[in-house]
Amino acid sequence: MRKRYTNLDPVTLLAWIALVIIGLMAIYSATHGPSSQFYQFNPRQNFGNQITWLGICLGGMVIALILPVRFFQQMAFPVYGITLLLLVAALIFGREVNGAKSWLYIGPMSLQVSELAKVGTVLAVAQVVGMRRPKTMDLRFAFLLVGIIMLPASLIILQNDTGTALVFFGLVPIVLFWSGLDLNLLLLMIAPAVAGYFAIVSMPTAIVFVVLFVAFMWWRTRNTRFSIVSALMTGGVVGLANVAITMVLSDYQVQRILSFTDPGAEQFRQNVGFHQVNSMAAIGSGGWFGKGFLQGTQTQGGYVFEQSTDFVFSVIGEEWGFFGSLVVLFLFAVLLIRLLQLGANIKHPFAVLIAAGASGIYLVHIFINIGMATSLLPVIGIPLPFISYGGSALLANTALLAIVLSLHLKKDDFSIYGY
């Protein structure tokens, strides 16, 4: 007798549809507004392409929903292997786009394999965690997980696509967190990054952060050695950043790093700060409710480069204002939290890891992308999930989501395929 699946989650699906539609509107505005008559062919076809990719994604999602749970588990390592091969192939046969050699051209289709690698990596990590028994966390296991993630990441760095590689780095603490790594260790891993950020933005804040963090760790652990290590790691990063900026790095590199803290400054605004000055002008001038669809002066004047891809949020911020931005952030919050709940519902480490990995990857993307568009972070070229133009990214992000939906749809099957 056929089993009836009734667990298809409507909340996730609706949030996804809403985000995709908002994305299509933003891309349409950026490429088909009053200014489109001045564009060359290339940006104008983005909208059509994205619709085509959306069709492919929908087809893929249906297939993913039909496929059995076992299939995903069995295919995890092969998919990971294929993505690694694709990454190597891109390095050899790939074409360079914006300085990154991460594109493979297959007939009329262009694939950004680094995006697809996210899916393979999350699947592989989830499978490794899912197979593990007993549920203990030792350092060797942690290194295995980090290795699985760093292998594609280093290939992507070789492709000169640092932005995407950064997402993999972001995946490391997320995966370790969900696979049960000690929270204190986790904090110790994340804190240096935060300290480094503050060291660039404001040195006093960085020092205050280091002091507070060490005090916090002491309060948590009452362990002198641990506190000393945390002080060394965070303080060391702050010191290193200071030395790097003042002595090691060339002027140009320093400017690139520092420019986001004040992109409008005299020395930045015409070169490295240009994107962010105009992106902030676009978003800031949106006000409460924005200038209206196709009415954004910055958007329609093409002042923000990459405004259908990496800087797509400037279109939303300008034309739909604070209100529209909040809607997008709210939809993301719903989607991300819902995915975690779905994973928790399934109660199987494989599903939990995929759901958490998807949610975490989205979160890193959202934070870096919107942070960059609002000059909270330096310019790092990664897309906003489901909204930015880009077929590979849409496909990869939708695939992760579809897998979670599929696993949730068939969550009862997990008992059959127990350990």
Partner: protein, 615 residues
């Protein structure tokens, strides 16, 4: 609570915190710092285009459109966004030489972000061709300008003035009136005098431009735009037909003419010769052409109607007669003997043209008898003459509604003047020349015309003006400029009758060829000595019809001999043309007409080659 649940909570909290940070950041940008970012985005993407309204049009007194506007376009290039290889395309669309445009582009490219004109005076057809190709021509945009067009044969060069781009010093002086760099500004004449009325109010067009400087769309669908307001149309007092006719008569002559309506001071025609073509000033003016106009020995830029100061010659005699009658030195029957000169002159000076025998004042005016008027002046105190001459407007700056600085004052000497001129003392003999309008003292054409009008209209000193009314072309609302009130002079009508009787005979008997068939006129000729050349200046005043005058005219032709010659003929034919609408060339008048074109101003030597002493 199990470990998984707590980690789930922690991760959810992380999501909320990170999205919260982004929300705070967006709130800062979009709400707290909104205005500064809005300013930045407007600076970037919104540009204000100034819309020049059409200047007010000029109509003549019959409603004939004399001066209109035609839209012309100026193309601008922003070098930073322009793609230089497309320059030949632009040149071919405009049908201008590549080399010309590329030279301008290279000059502009020194300031890559500065928008600079690359081709002015582009027609609508040429602009349309460029706009069809605008996606291939980034960095090119345009502005509308208004060009003056002159529609009648009447040029009215000096009184009209012309329009140029505002100069730096003028801009400084008029910035508070809303002028900006590149605005048009009236130069001279009516265009200057009525600048603030004719100019209108420039509007603003806000357009969105993209990063390449191309216009993308109307900003906010044009809600912020301000429409330009047209300037006021001027209804002139000028009769375009009479004006064109006057201009056609001054062939090979230097001089001027002004015709007034003696009832109200309206200027019917006003011409200074030689003139120049105002059309030249509607384009970029070739410096060589401008130089040739500026330095020409006949001084075409000089407005002889308002600025020429010359001796009145015998046209002064009616004034002397009026004065002699007024101070009761003589009456209508008084006679004085003319034996060909005044006795004081001993036959060498104070000469008359003829021996007129015993003649009264009317005959003396008719014959223009020097002897009689020398005698009158011998008996009159020079300050008494100064008072009367000043009363009828001589030596006073006459009002005319074109720039006051352009209007000359003339000079009526009084005893102080002679004390300065003859520091060792002077006698009545020194001032007797004033009786025949020679010697010291200068008048202008406007003064002569007002004086003629006052004699003709019974003693009202009118205010000459060129504008009847100013009409708002949108509402049709008309207004009249403020002019000084005409002055009612306290003149004895009996004496004026005597003057008019003498001046009637000047036309009907003495210079009979100036008599207009069917219209009785009064007038007086004059030949004025000058320092310019050998020939006397030809001066003439006239008013007609004699009993109820509708036109008073003053004509002046430099170095053309007797007043009854060139000036008289021009005046007579103009009055005929104005009153009858035609010129009757039957009989002797045909010959008079033909001969008029031979009575030319003496050709002056080139200023560039000063006269060498003979031998």
């Amino acid at each position: 609570m199990d470990e998984g649940r707590s980690r789930l909570r922690i991760f959810m909290a992380l999501i909320v915190v990170i999205l919260g940070i982004l929300t705070l950041r967006l709130g800062t940008l979009q709400i707290v710092e909104r205005s500064s970012h809005t300013g930045q985005s407007v600076n970037n993407a919104v540009r204000e285009w100034r819309v020049q309204p059409p200047r007010g049009r000029f109509y003549d007194r019959e409603g004939v459109l004399m001066v209109d506007n035609e839209p012309r376009f100026t193309l601008f290039v922003t070098p930073r966004y322009f793609h230089e290889p497309t320059l030949p395309l632009l040149a071919s669309l405009l049908e201008r030489p590549d080399s010309l445009l590329s030279a301008r582009f290279r000059t502009a490219a020194k300031n890559p972000f500065q928008r600079a004109p690359i081709q002015a005076d582009v027609s609508f057809e040429e602009l349309s061709r460029v706009l069809e190709q605008r996606h291939n021509l980034p960095g090119i945009d345009y502005e509308i300008t208004q060009k003056r067009t002159y529609l009648t044969d009447a040029r009215m060069t000096h009184a009209m003035g012309y329009v140029r781009e505002i100069s730096e010093s003028t801009l400084e002086a008029h910035r508070e009136e809303g002028y900006v760099w590149g605005d048009p500004f009236g130069q001279g004449g009516l265009e200057r005098q009525y600048e603030s009325e004719v100019r209108g109010v420039p509007g603003s067009d806000f357009k969105m431009i993209n990063i390449k400087g191309q216009v993308v769309a109307e900003y906010l669908d044009g809600q912020e735009d301000r429409a330009a307001k047209n300037g006021l149309d001027l209804n002139l007092t000028i009769d375009a037909d009479l004006q064109a006719f006057a201009e056609s008569l001054f062939v090979n002559k230097r001089g001027g003419v002004i015709a007034l309506d003696p009832r109200n001071g309206e200027v019917l025609a006003m011409h200074s010769a030689p003139d120049y073509d105002l059309e030249l000033f509607t384009h970029r003016l070739d410096p060589q052409v401008w130089d040739s106009i500026r330095t020409h020995k006949d001084r075409p830029l000089f407005n002889r109607v308002t600025q020429s100061q010359f001796m009145p010659g015998s046209t002064y005699k009616p004034l002397i007669a009026l004065l002699a009658l007024g101070v009761r030195e003589i009456d209508a029957d008084y006679e004085f003997y003319c034996g060909g000169g005044h006795p004081l002159g001993g036959g060498r000076i104070y000469k008359c043209l003829d021996s007129h025998g015993s003649i009264n004042v009317i005959e003396a005016i008719k014959y223009s008898c020097n002897t009689f008027f020398f005698e009158m002046m011998r008996r009159i105190d020079v300050n008494t003459l100064h008072r009367l001459a000043t009363t009828v407007g001589f030596g006073q700056r006459p009002y005319l509604d074109i720039a006051a600085s352009e209007v000359a004052v003339g000079n009526v000497p009084d005893s102080t003047y002679y004390n300065r001129l003859f520091p060792r003392g002077w006698t009545q003999g020194n001032v007797m020349n004033l009786g025949v309008g020679q010697g010291e003292g200068e008048v202008t054409l406007i003064q002569l015309a007002r004086y003629m009008a006052a004699i003709a209209n019974g003693g009202t000193l009118v205010t000459p003006h060129l504008v009847r009314s100013m009409v708002d072309p949108e509402t049709g609302q008309a207004s009249v400029p403020d002019f000084p009130e005409p002055v009612r002079l306290d003149l004895n009508q009996t004496y004026l009758d005597i003057l008019r009787a003498g001046m009637r005979r000047v036309i009907s008997e003495q210079s009979w060829w100036l008599e207009i068939p069917s219209v009785p006129a009064i007038g007086k000729t004059g030949s004025a000595q000058n320092t310019r050349g050998d020939e006397d200046d030809s001066v003439f005043i006239m008013a007609a019809p004699a009993d109820n005058p509708e036109i008073a005219i003053a004509v002046f032709v430099e170095n053309a001999g007797f007043g009854s010659g060139a000036a008289g003929r021009i005046g007579s034919f103009m009055v005929e043309r104005y009153l009858t609408g035609r010129v009757d060339l039957s009989g002797d008048r045909g010959w008079i007409w033909t001969q008029m074109f031979n009575l030319n101003s003496e050709v002056l030597p080139d200023r560039a080659a000063p006269r060498q002493p003979a031998g």
